[in-house]
Amino acid sequence: MASTSGFCGTGCTKPYLRKTCTRDAIFSVTDAPLNAAAIRARVGEFVAANATLIARGDVDPAAYLGARFDAGLAWVHFPVGCGGLGADRSLQHVVETALAGAGAPPNDPRRNPIGLGMAAPTILRHGTDAQRHQYLRPLWTGEEIWCQLFSEPGAGSDLAGLGARGVRDGDDWVVNGQKVWTSLAHHAHRAILIVRTDPTVPKHVGMTYFVLDMHAPGVEVRPLRQATGEAEFNEIFLTDARIPDTDRLGAVGDGWKVAQTTLMNERVAIGGGVVPREFGEIGVLASIWRDRPALRTPAGQETLMQLWVQGEAARLFGMRLAQQLAAGQPGPEGSASKIIYARLMQQATSFEMDLLGGEALRQDTWDMNRDSLVDFFARSPGHRYLRAKGNSIEGGTSEILRNIIAERILDLPRETRNDVELPWKDLPK
C-alpha cells in the first residue's frame, strides 16, 4: 500500500498508544515528565557519546538504531527500557529533528513497516515484560522483519470468522490452516498471528493471538500473484506448526481484543498526512498534459480538471486531518481518508490510460516481481490502473469502511446479523 498511494507512514508518529506503560513496575517512568528542552539535551548526550555510530549509520543501521533504542530515543512515548522515555508522543519530532540536525540517518519506517506500525504497539499494549524485551529491540532496528497473519481465504472483511486452528499440546500450541495477503512474509522473521482456539464459543471470543517464528517447521510461504502479475503478497500454509505458549500475546480467547490494537493502527497508517499539491497520480496526469500538447482535447481537459479538483480536495482534507491530530482533536474523519484516496487513485489511473490511448496498452511486464515495495510511478500506466484496484480492498474494503462511518460516526443501527450468539462451529460456511 505504501508504494501505491504514497500516503502511508507506519504509525510511529500517530496517537495510537498510551503514553506510559502501567502494567509492569519495571518499566514505570522514573523521571518527571520530559519537555522538549530535556529531550533535546538527551539527544545531545546521545550524539556526543555515539558520534562514530551516527557517522556510520548508513552502512551499519542496526548498530546505530540499537544505540538509539538503548538511549530511549527510538519512540519517546514508549516506557523506559522499551526504547522510549515515557514522554509525550508529540515530542518524537523533537528527537527526529535534533538527530537529523546532527547528521544522523533518517528514521525510515519502511525498514519494517508491519513491525513498527502494527506489531510494536500491540506488543507494548498486550505483551509481557519478557516479550517486550525479546521482540521490541530487534523489531526497531530492522534485524527482525515482521509480517501479519490475519486474513484467510474464507475470512476477509469478516476477519472474526477465521478458521485456522490452534490446539494446546503441553507447553505448545499446534497450528493448522491457511493465511493470505501477507506482505513481507518471504523476508519476515516473525509474524503476528490470530487463530481459533475454541470453535465451540461465539466467534469473537474463541480466538487467541500469537507471535509466530516464521522459520519454524510447518510454516510454508508461497507467493500470491496479483492481477498486476507481480507478487507483493504471500499465502502461508501452517501445517502442525508449533508455537510455545510463552509466545502468546494476551489471554487465551482474547485474540480479537488484542487484534483491535493492531487493526486500529493499520487504519491510522493508511491515508492522511500532508502532501504537496499535484502529489502522486495527479502529478503524473498534470505532467503528461503539460508535456504532450498533442494529447489535449476539450473533453480530456474537463476530466483532468475534475480530477485535479478532487485531488486538491483530498489533499486539503489530509492536511486538515493532520492538523486535527496535531492539535489533539483526532476527529472521526480519519475513516474517510482511505475511501477518498482509493476512489481518486482509481479514477485518475483509469483516466491516465484513456489520455495516453493506444500507448497505454503497451505493458512494461507481466513478470512475477517479488518486490514488497513496488515503485508505482516507475511502472507502466496499465500497472497503475490495476494496482489501484487493490486500494479499495486492502486494509478494509471501502464497503466495510462505509459501514464503520455509518455505524460509529453517524450512529445508525447495525445490520441485522446472525453470527453473534451462535458458536463458531455452527455458523453457515
Partner: protein, 357 residues
C-alpha cells in the same frame, strides 16, 4: 501551513448565532416568508447585523467594525446556510463590504459596519470573479442601464454599480428594483434599472472583483452548512422511520449513501476552510483556492439536498417539509458566482493545464 481548523472564538460565534437563528428564524418562518411580500427578514437582519454586530465582522475597528477576518465570517456563512436564513450577509457584509474596503471608500463603511444600512454589488448573481461585464453606462455622473438577476438587492440601501468608467455608488431610491420570482426565494433576485440615476465614482472595477472573489470564497462555507443540514436531517430521519419492521437506517444500501455524503462533506469542510483562510491572509493562492472551492463544494451541497429529498421518500417531496428550501438554495448557489465548469476552466489557466490549441 495554513490553519484549517476552527478556533474557540469560531465555536463561540457559531453557538450564539445558531441560538439566535433557532429562536428567530425556524424553517417554518423561512418557508412562510418565501410567499410573503418581504422575502428578506429585516428583524432577523437587525438581530444578526446590529445586535450581534456581525455586519461589520470584517471591517477594521477604526471604521466601526469588529476587526475580525474572513475565517470568522465563514463560520457565519456556514450557520446561515444551515438555516437558509433570508438575510443579506453574503451580499452586503462580505461582497459589498469587501469591494468598499478594496476601493478605500472609508466614508461609506461605518454605516455598513454598524448594520444601519445594507449595500449590494449590482451584478448578475451568476457572475464569476473576473467576469464582470458592465451593462450600465455613465454620462456626466448619471447612470443608465439595466442589470438583471441581482441577489440580495431588495433589502439594500446602497447600490455599488460597475460601469465602463469604474465602480459607482448609487442610493437605492434612485433606481427601479423589480423583484423576480426566483428559484431560491430565500435569496430573492431583482432586476435593476437606472434611468439617469445620480452616482458617485468610488473606485476601479478591480475593487468589485475583489468583492466578488471574497463572496465566492465564503459561499463555499454556506454550501458546507447547507450540506451538513441535509446530512444531519437525513440521518435523523433514518433513525426514526420504520419500514418492513426495521429502522430505515439499518439497511446497508441507505447507510452507504449517507456515509458517502459524510466523506464528501468532510472534504468540503477542508476546502471551505482553505478558501476562507486564503482570503483572510490575502494569500497569493486565493484565486486557486476560490476556483477549487467553487468547483468542488457546489456539487456536494446539491447532492446532499437531493439525497435528503430521496431518502425521506414522500414527505421529503412536500411543500410542508423543509428539504426543498435547501435544495433550491443549493442549486441556486451552484450557479451563483460562476458555474463549477467555469471555475474549472479558470483553474486550468491558473495552474497551467492549458486547453487544446
Amino acid at each position: 501551513m495554513i490553519d484549517l481548523l476552527y478556533s474557540d472564538i469560531d465555536e463561540q460565534l457559531r453557538s450564539s448565532l445558531r441560538s439566535v437563528l433557532a429562536a428567530r428564524s425556524p424553517w417554518t418562518e423561512v418557508l412562510a416568508r418565501t410567499e410573503s411580500d418581504k422575502t428578506y427578514d429585516a428583524d432577523l437582519w437587525r438581530a444578526v447585523a446590529v445586535d450581534m454586530g456581525l455586519a461589520g465582522l470584517i471591517v477594521p475597528e477604526d471604521l466601526g467594525g469588529a476587526g475580525a477576518s474572513y475565517r470568522e465570517a465563514a463560520v457565519v456563512c456556514e450557520e446561515l446556510g444551515r438555516a437558509v436564513a433570508p438575510i443579506p450577509f453574503l451580499g452586503s457584509a462580505i461582497v459589498a463590504t469587501t469591494a468598499l474596503l478594496s476601493a478605500g471608500a472609508t466614508d461609506l463603511l461605518p454605516d455598513l459596519a454598524s448594520g444601519t444600512r445594507a449595500a449590494v454589488l449590482v451584478v448578475p448573481f451568476a457572475t464569476a470573479p473576473g467576469g464582470i461585464t458592465p451593462t450600465v453606462a455613465v454620462e456626466g455622473g448619471r447612470l443608465t442601464g439595466t442589470v438583471t438577476t441581482v441577489a440580495e438587492a431588495l433589502p439594500a440601501d446602497l447600490l455599488l454599480v460597475p460601469t465602463p468608467g469604474g465602480l459607482y455608488a448609487v442610493e437605492a431610491a434612485q433606481a427601479l428594483l423589480i423583484p423576480v420570482t426566483s428559484f431560491d426565494m430565500t435569496r430573492q433576485l431583482a432586476d435593476i434599472t437606472f434611468d439617469g440615476a445620480t452616482g458617485t465614482r468610488i473606485g476601479d472595477l478591480a475593487a468589485a472583483d475583489v468583492g466578488l472573489r471574497a463572496g465566492a470564497a465564503l459561499l463555499a462555507s454556506e454550501q458546507l452548512g447547507v450540506a451538513e443540514w441535509c446530512l444531519e436531517t437525513t440521518v435523523a430521519y433514518l433513525k426514526t422511520r420504520y419500514q418492513f419492521g426495521r429502522l430505515l437506517g439499518s439497511y446497508q444500501a441507505l447507510k452507504h449513501r449517507v456515509a458517502d455524503l459524510y466523506v464528501d462533506i468532510s472534504q468540503a469542510r477542508a476546502v471551505a476552510r482553505y478558501a476562507a483562510a486564503c482570503a483572510a491572509s490575502e494569500d497569493p493562492d486565493l484565486p486557486v483556492a476560490v476556483a477549487v472551492a467553487q468547483a468542488f463544494n457546489p456539487a456536494i451541497a446539491v447532492r446532499a439536498s437531493e439525497e435528503c429529498m430521496q431518502l425521506h421518500g414522500g414527505i421529503g417531496f412536500t411543500w410542508e417539509y423543509p428539504v426543498h428550501l435547501y435544495m433550491k438554495r443549493a442549486k441556486s448557489a451552484a450557479i451563483a458566482f460562476g458555474s463549477a465548469a467555469a471555475h474549472r476552466t479558470e483553474l486550468a489557466k491558473l495552474v497551467n493545464l492549458p486547453a487544446s490549441s
